[in-house]
Symmetry: C4
Subunit: 226 residues, 4 copies
């Protein structure tokens, strides 16, 4: 590496808030464009209320697919946001790790459409699973990078707790996704169903109230750090 | 719930400004994409100024539909912004309440298109009304959550006034929407017209000057709180 | 107006930075989507370099139309940004004035496409002119509102200079646009050409260096105010 | 230039953070929309896993084209962000330099699609190269402008190092692009391949760990400046 490059590498990618801003933008656009795949059924045969209800019911698979992609984007947006809550420094490496994470975010609508079209093919499930795993991998790489380089604005004991929580979450969720994907060798629909249930687990969790004890911990702790 | 999840739940979703930023992004994209449904009329028969004016006049229903969707998005954007003016803390629950609110924002162009296509069907009106009610519900849930968990950066007496204003606004407006929707059992066009008038009420209100007394209250009070 | 409404009107729309953020979002999307109307010419007859150059040359009107819409959006974005540089307070009225300004921003791609399709029609020129005038009007209304309600973070003498500059700019530019539009009664192409030249005037101005004296004024003054 | 214009020129374009925000928005949308050109292959003949894999393999050129455009946008986004890390003041000139930079960003999807369609034509390569060079030119003009007008928030010795790094980076990379483009007179595919390799150089560089010495420099220096 020539000398000018070393210097450029050192000065590039330090603008932390812009990484967050472009991430937010990419997620916002991806989430909004998902709906564009929902088409209003147009048919001259729809002439009664019952006919229209039936036409709407036939959209349910598409609505479900929309809902799942929305959930996936929401889950990864939350995970990305959570990491950046603690990150207080960035460099060119972190900058590019984030950009590659965003690349896999933008690819998700494509792999989802691929899965919708070929839901009874193992290859389509494998591709979709690969996309989710790639998102998790980039988050894992990112976290390990900022943890090792100490780009985190938290005290050491706090840091260990956060580190454990983030790593365990990524490992457990992606192990579950992988198990779900492997079910495609038995039945592809079953495999999709299991991946759907894993997502719903994340979705429904928020409707359960946190325990009193948990509430107390949250309200006692410093809101900017934990 | 296993132990690692409890911790993740506690550390996730605390980045308040990112919730606001992604909301702004979703609204900005939705508002801008609405116009994409307006198509320039292309016809070889348009050869005179009068012909072109007629072709434009035939676009009026589409322009009206655009205007109404714009108003709806504007109203809910303002309502969302108003709540976040007071919210000074967030957690994973608030994060997901906001994301589900955004889900219904992204669905609005779909239900609007559905209504445009089937304006003389009760089901289409019911679906559109359901979308608006869902938006209001999420705002209500969100406000109740931050109020109860005291995630508001305002003094107690102030808080009660704001709480009353926000709740009453939501209850009154959604009662009106519901009454409007119920008119579909008499006549679907009448039902749409009433919902349009409710929107216009919000729109035209801004052209009336606030009373002197009101002006005084605003200018006397702290701009960051009230 | 009932009592709860007065209160809601007082608490709504105070989040100044979100008005700026949604404006930025709408402009960013509008500017980026403009290019989507540029279509790569696909023809089996293109088999030589000269043929491809000719195919590209046939795109020049579309590229020009793209460039002009880009310039218009850039000019109004700069004007909007300039006003918000001085605005330090907002309320529900300012919130909705800004939203209606954005409505006309989102309509610009439509009126531009309308003009491209019917460039030899007075009506199309009138519609395009109306859109630009509406943008200018909203900026004028917005400025008058913040000036009269003293929502500006600048000293009184400074304020008068800024007020004069912003108002004169709007009046002069829209007088020129109107004169340009009126030329359509002589020749529609001439009318479009004049509007193009007015835009280019804004565009090319930046390539002329500011005079030494001007530079001095800028560097001497407080960067946050002037 | 009349007197009011001078004043408007002085007051316009000072809102530094909005230039960054609109840039982020344009990049986010461009990056997300790139994927829209990837179409899921739909064919009634695809009935086996092997058939689907083959259909996917036929998408590889499109995926490669997507990846390269993503890399180009990522590289220029990083470069733009790096400059704004040091810029602490703006005016109307800088505002318009940034807008024209964004114009070439929005044109990139068009020139990429043009190249994909006519990859064996020198003209298409020339056009793509011109777009990249225009992006580099605008960044060079921007940097020279802020350097000469001293709109940088860094000490003088620091400034010289940063200036050298940014200029050298732009000169070296664009010299390489030009050499790559010139290869089209030998073979167009070779020319594209070389441009791809230059991009990959930027991409793969991040996977090599920075040397210990470099790490030390980064961690020792003030994170807000270097």
């Amino acid at each position: 590496m020539s000398d000018y490059k070393k210097t450029y590498n050192q000065i590039a990618g330090q603008r932390l808030h812009r990484i967050e801003a472009i991430s937010n933008g990419v997620f916002a656009i991806s989430i909004t464009l998902l709906v564009r795949d929902l088409k209003v059924p147009v048919s001259p045969e729809i002439s009664t209320e019952v006919g229209l209800v039936n036409a709407f019911v036939s959209l349910v698979p598409q609505l479900l697919s929309y809902f799942l992609s929305f959930m996936t984007l929401g889950i990864f947006w939350t995970a990305h946001t959570t990491q950046f809550h603690y990150i207080n420094k960035s460099d060119r490496h972190l900058n590019w790790i984030s950009l590659f994470f965003l690349m896999f975010v933008t690819l998700l609508p494509f792999t989802t459409a691929f899965l919708s079209e070929y839901i009874n093919f193992k290859f389509a499930i494998g591709l979709y699973w690969l996309n989710i795993v790639a998102l998790g991998m980039m988050l894992f790489i990112q976290w390990r990078y900022v943890y090792r380089h100490n780009y985190l604005g938290i005290a050491d004991d706090e840091k260990k707790i956060v580190n454990k929580a983030i790593k365990q979450r990524l490992i457990v969720s992606h192990t579950l996704y992988t198990i779900g994907a492997l079910f495609c060798f038995i039945n592809t629909y079953l495999s999709v169903l299991i991946m759907i249930l894993i997502q719903l687990n994340f979705a429904l969790a928020i409707f359960f109230k946190p325990s009193k004890r948990e509430d107390k911990i949250i309200s006692n702790s410093d809101s900017t750090l934990l």
